[in-house]
């Protein structure tokens, strides 16, 4: 029991960044445990996951996994966890991983360490660190048997210098008719839009940007332009979401999403404790606020004191120039 099984998430036929990061983390853990990293792909062709750290690649296909199903995906992962006698079973803490991994762990009779930010071996056993209370504290956890864990995107590194592994087909022991919940259709949203919890750069707006249906219209356009220049996802404070100015999927904080991007730019966000908790794991934090005593400046690595009206267009222009040089 020293192998690590990693569910690698795919989107539009390719492994996602978060999926490859999970595989990278699994590869590192497997080495520490003296075992193999085993990638598991469901409903997609395997690609070249050997290059990304997989020693073995398992592929489950067929009609039963043509569409995503939480109970179907859970069953396959649980069956392969048993078949491989894995010491740890990993997935990305994305909307998909968060949805079905608890079911998979439950089939295996195990708990789940969710949204982990560190993973290592302690005395030959896997151990994980996960933020609780949106990062107000960090819990180091272990499991009596197999450790089931989901890993936060943007925290673990991809492996890009691995070898090769031939895909092995694994059986799917059920048919489409056995599934309890299957996604029927995508009813709204933009295909491929980056989730705020998965983005490498996040540009967030607070109440200081004002009502986008009124005097804040230009401010939000400026914030979108800044995000676009950086290839960033947009985030928002709770006040902004509660006011109906931005969709709730963008809310960052203890009552929204907890994020760890490499760069977080907080625009006109004063920094309520719930918001600070949700983004304090970011690598670099930039704050733009007209109030130099705003709590956000205590956490920020770099701050500009000024209004969003003045600073956002200037910052977008300056960043565009830097990015093109």
């Amino acid at each position: 029991m020293s192998d690590v099984l990693v569910f690698v998430e795919f989107s539009d036929g390719a492994a996602t960044k978060a999926g490859l990061q999970a595989l990278g983390a699994g590869s590192t853990l497997a080495k520490a445990l003296g075992g193999k990293a085993i990638a598991l792909v469901i409903g997609n062709s395997a690609g070249e996951l050997g290059k990304h750290g997989a020693d073995r690649v398992l592929v489950a296909g067929g009609d039963a996994v043509g569409s995503y199903s939480p109970d179907g995906f859970a069953r396959i992962v649980a069956e392969q966890a048993k078949a491989t006698n894995a010491a740890a079973v990993l997935a990305s803490a994305t909307p998909m991983g968060k949805d079905f991994f608890p079911r998979a762990a439950a089939i295996a009779g195990c708990g789940l360490a969710a949204d982990c930010i560190e993973l290592d071996a302690e005395g030959g056993k896997p151990r994980a660190v996960r933020p609780v209370f949106a990062g107000k504290a960090l819990a180091t956890v272990e499991a009596p048997g197999t450790l089931w864990a989901t890993l936060r995107p943007n925290v673990f590194a991809e492996v890009n210098a691995g070898g090769s592994a031939a895909p092995e087909t694994v059986p799917v022991t059920f048919g489409p008719g056995d599934l309890k919940a299957v996604v029927k259709e995508i009813v709204a949203g933009v295909k491929g839009k980056l989730d705020v919890a998965e983005a490498e750069i996040v540009v967030s707006g607070g109440r200081g940007l004002k009502d986008p249906a009124g005097e804040g219209k230009q401010n939000w356009a400026n914030l979108e332009a800044l995000a676009e220049a950086l290839g960033a996802a947009t985030g928002a404070s709770r006040a902004v979401v509660d006011a109906g100015w931005r969709p709730h999927g963008e809310q960052v904080g203890q009552t929204g999403k907890t994020v760890s991007p490499k760069l977080y730019i907080a625009c006109a966000i004063s920094g309520a404790i719930q918001h600070l908790a949700g983004m304090s794991g970011s690598k670099v934090i930039v704050a733009i606020n007209k109030d130099e005593n705003a709590p956000i400046f205590k956490l920020a690595d770099y701050g500009i004191v000024g209004t969003v009206e003045d600073v956002l267009p200037a910052l977008t222009a300056a960043l565009k120039e830097t990015l093109s040089s």
């Binding site: 608890p102 009813v187 690598k283």
Partner: protein
């Protein structure tokens, strides 16, 4: 409809969290409690289903005896009954899910609602684990929910704001998030009714945790930051620092 809503008593989100002397739990000194944020959307969803289809809403909680306060708040909003599985320990999702599932098995249930994640443990796992233990379909992070002819149609908030639509047979487990509804406040009539409603307490008999906390630590302190400057003139300097010093762009 027999509707069950599982709610959690959790520290309010403005609480400052410090590790306790045992180094494994948080220090409860000075911490106030409330219904965990997303569970309020589950309570409202349950009441709306009852208003549309008739039936009862039963609140189920695993927690200390003090949690009857939060459960009475839910009753005051419009729920009908409540059961508390008493335990003072900070269990993990797997232990809680097993205790809740065992209780739910003994109660009639057409739909079991949860908040999609708690504001303290944040595992977003209990609802799906209960569904697996009961052999029920689950849809997590619901932003739309409609029930008709023994089926629930549920829109789930997926990556990037996409909504995935599911149609599942009842009984089912649905975990709820912001956007599903606007949780109501309790009115005086509800508060009076809640005072008179008994909240039976039985020992939780929770099994062992699936993951155990070895250590709880404060987050690492961040390095002291700097104010780059004032107004738009500081933008160029910031761009330079982000590339050359922080190396993030």
């Amino acid at each position: 409809m027999d509707i069950i809503v599982c709610i959690r008593r959790a520290p309010t989100t403005d609480a400052r969290i410090k590790p306790a002397a045992d180094g494994k739990n948080y220090d409860p000194a000075g911490v106030n409690y409330d219904i965990s944020e997303y569970d309020k959307f589950a309570i409202e969803a349950g009441i709306l289903l009852k208003e549309k289809h008739g039936g009862t809403v039963t609140i189920l909680t695993l927690g200390p005896s003090a949690a009857t306060k939060e459960m009475r708040t839910a009753i005051a909003m419009g729920c009908d009954a409540a059961h508390l599985l008493v335990s003072d320990a900070n269990h993990d999702s797997w232990a809680i899910a097993q205790a809740l599932a065992a209780k739910i098995k003994s109660l009639p249930h057409d739909i079991v609602l949860f908040g999609w994640s708690s504001v303290d443990n944040q595992s977003s796992a209990t609802g799906q684990m209960v569904a697996e233990l009961l052999g029920l379909p689950s849809v997590s992070v619901a932003v739309a929910l409609d029930v008709a002819d023994g089926q629930a149609t549920v829109d789930r908030l997926a990556a990037g704001g996409n909504r995935e639509r599911y149609s599942v047979k009842l009984p089912a487990v649905v975990t709820c998030t912001k956007g599903l509804n606007k949780p109501r406040s309790a009115n005086m009539k509800g508060i009076m009714a809640a005072k008179k409603t008994a909240v039976p307490e039985t020992p939780a008999n929770a099994p062992a945790d699936g993951v155990t906390v070895v250590k709880l630590s404060p987050p690492p302190a961040r390095a002291e930051g700097k104010i780059v400057g004032k107004g738009p003139e500081a933008a160029a300097a910031l761009a330079k620092l982000l590339r050359e010093e922080a190396k993030v762009i």
